[in-house]
Subunit: 351 residues, 2 copies
Amino acid sequence: MELNPWGSSTIKDYDKLTREFGIQKMPNLGISNRYFRRGIIFGHRDFDKFWNADKRSVLTGIMPSGPMHLGHKMVVDQCVFYQSLGIKTRVLIADIEARVTRGISKEQAQKLALEEYLPNWIALGLDPKKADIYAQTNRSVPYYSFYSLLSGRITLNEMSAVYGNLTPGKITSALVQMGDILHPQLPEYDGPEHVLVPVGADQDPHIRLARGFAEKEHLIKPSATYHRFATGLEGGKMSSSRENSYIALNDPADVAVKKASNALTGGRNTAAEQKKKGGDISKCVVYELYAYHFAKSDKELAEIRRKCTTGEMLCGECKQMLAERVGEFMSSLAKKRERAKKEVGKMEIFR
Amino acid sequence: MELNPWGSSTIKDYDKLTREFGIQKMPNLGISNRYFRRGIIFGHRDFDKFWNADKRSVLTGIMPSGPMHLGHKMVVDQCVFYQSLGIKTRVLIADIEARVTRGISKEQAQKLALEEYLPNWIALGLDPKKADIYAQTNRSVPYYSFYSLLSGRITLNEMSAVYGNLTPGKITSALVQMGDILHPQLPEYDGPEHVLVPVGADQDPHIRLARGFAEKEHLIKPSATYHRFATGLEGGKMSSSRENSYIALNDPADVAVKKASNALTGGRNTAAEQKKKGGDISKCVVYELYAYHFAKSDKELAEIRRKCTTGEMLCGECKQMLAERVGEFMSSLAKKRERAKKEVGKMEIFR
C-alpha cells in the first residue's frame, strides 16, 4: 500500500476503497483546481465520460440538519469550480430526507436552508442565478412520479445491502435520492445529460445504487468523484454533535480562530524532539486544513510540509499562521453571507 | 349469528368482520339507493360523520389491471349515486400501484384506463365534468410531497401487520394510497373536507392505516363503507384469471348472456325436489346478480326470492329472465361506452 500523503483522516486506506469497490483512482487530467491537483479527490467512477460529455451537470444535496461547517465547504468549492467552467450546477435541499430519516420538520429544514446553508453557498461563490436550486418537497411532477415508480425495480434485500436496517422513511429517502441523481436525464427535464455527483467516500453505496437503477432504466450511469474526509479538529471523525470538532461557517471569527488554534497537530513531546525528528504530518489536522482550504498555493503547501517534517517550523508558528488565515476567511465570509441573505430572500425555493 | 340474507359470497360471516375489526353495522338511514336499502353495504366507519359533513367528497381508485367487470360496477354505482346528490367525486387511476406491485407499465395502464375503465365509468353514469379524475403519476406537487413525508411516520412492522410481506414497491404503493385518501384534506387542495371511501370488506386494512395516519397528522379520519363481495359466476371468488368467473363490461352481449345462463344456482337435483323444497338461495349467484344489479325494484327482488324458495319458479325460468336483462344491459352499455370514448379522448389525465 502506497503511503498516504495527506495526514489525518478517519479512513486512512483510500487505496483499499478503490480496490474493493471498483472506484477508479483519479488520473492526472491536468485539471487546474486544488481538489484535483492535491489529490483531495482521490477516486472516481466514469469521471472521464462526464468530463468529455457535451451535455452535463453537477448535482449535490444540502442536508438541512446541524450547522454548515468547513467539511461541507469541500463540495461547495467543487461546485463553484464546475460552475466557473460553465457546467450546469444543481443543488437540492434534502428536506424530505431530513424529515423522514431525522424527524426535522419541513419548516425547520426550510429555515436552516434559507438562513444558513444557501447564504454560505453563495458567499463561497455559487452563482444562484445560474444554478438549479430546488427542495425535494417542491420539485415538479415527473420527478416524483419517476422515483415512486423506481420502487418497483428493487427488492428489500438489495436495499438493505446498501442501507442496513430499513424503515419506510429510509426506503423513501433512498428512492427520492435516486430521483435526485437520475431525473435530470428525463426528457421532461430536457435530458438526457451526463450527471456528476461529487461525494465523500462514504457515499459510494448511493452512487452504486443510482448506477444500478440507471442501467435498469436505460439511462446514463451517473459519474462520481470521491474526496477525502474532513478530519475532526480534535482528530477522529468530525461530528455535528461535538462543536469543537468542526469550524462552523457561522462561527464568529474569534471562535473559529480559537478552534483552529486548538486543533490537533503532529507535534512531538518537546520542542527539542520536534526540531530533531520533525512533526508527524500524518496526524496533523492543521496540515489538512492548509491542504484543503488555506494554503495559498501548492508551492506554499509543499513548503509548509517541508518545514514541518524537517523540524524547521514548530507547531506554534504554523498554527499562528493558520489562525490568521482562518480569521480573515471567516470575517470575509460573514460579510459576503450578509449580502447573500438578501439574495436568498428573493428566491422561491419552497412554497 | 344472524342468517345471511344474501346467498352466496366468499366471506359469509360479515357479522364476524364487524365484531372483530370494529366496523360498525350500517344503520337504516333511509338512504334511497339499492346498495343501502338491500344491505349490500353492510358496514361502515364514521359514515354518519361524512353524511352530516358540510364539505365532503367520495374517493375511489381504478386499478388498471385486467378487465373491468360487474364486480367493479358496484363502486361505480355508488359514486354515481353520490354524484347525483351533488357530492364531489374523486376517481384516481392507480398507475403507480399497477406498475410497482404488478409490473404493469405506465403505458399499459394508461391504455386500459382510457380505452376500457373510464368509458365504462361514464357509460354507467359518472359525469366526468363534475368529477376529479386523476392519475397517480400525474397529480400535483403537494400530493407527492405529502405521501413521501408520511414514510417517516410509520415503522416496517406496522406496515407488514397490514400488508404482510413487504417490498419497496408495496411500501411505496401503500404510501401513495394514503396520499390518495388523505390529500383532499390538505389546504393546497382546498381542504379540509370529509372523505368517504366506499370499499369491499377486504380493503379495510388500508382504511385503518389511513385513519391512523389521519390521527398522527391531525387530519379528519376518513370514513368508509363496506359492501359485500361479488361472487364468481361459478361460485367461489371472482377472479380476473378465470374469465368464466365474471361478466366483463366489454364482453359482447351474447357472451355475457351465455355466462349469466351458466351461472351457479341453488337449484336442487330434480325439478320435483325443487318444487317441494324450493331453491337454496344462499348458494345462488343468479339471485346475487338480481340483488346487486338486475332486479328492477326491491319488491320484484322479494318476489323472485319468494317464488324461488317456495318452489314456484324453477331455475330455468329465473335464469331466462336474468339472461334477457343482462343482454339488454350489455347492449345499452356498449352504445353508451362508444359515445363515452369520444369524451374520454378529450380528457387530459396523463401527460
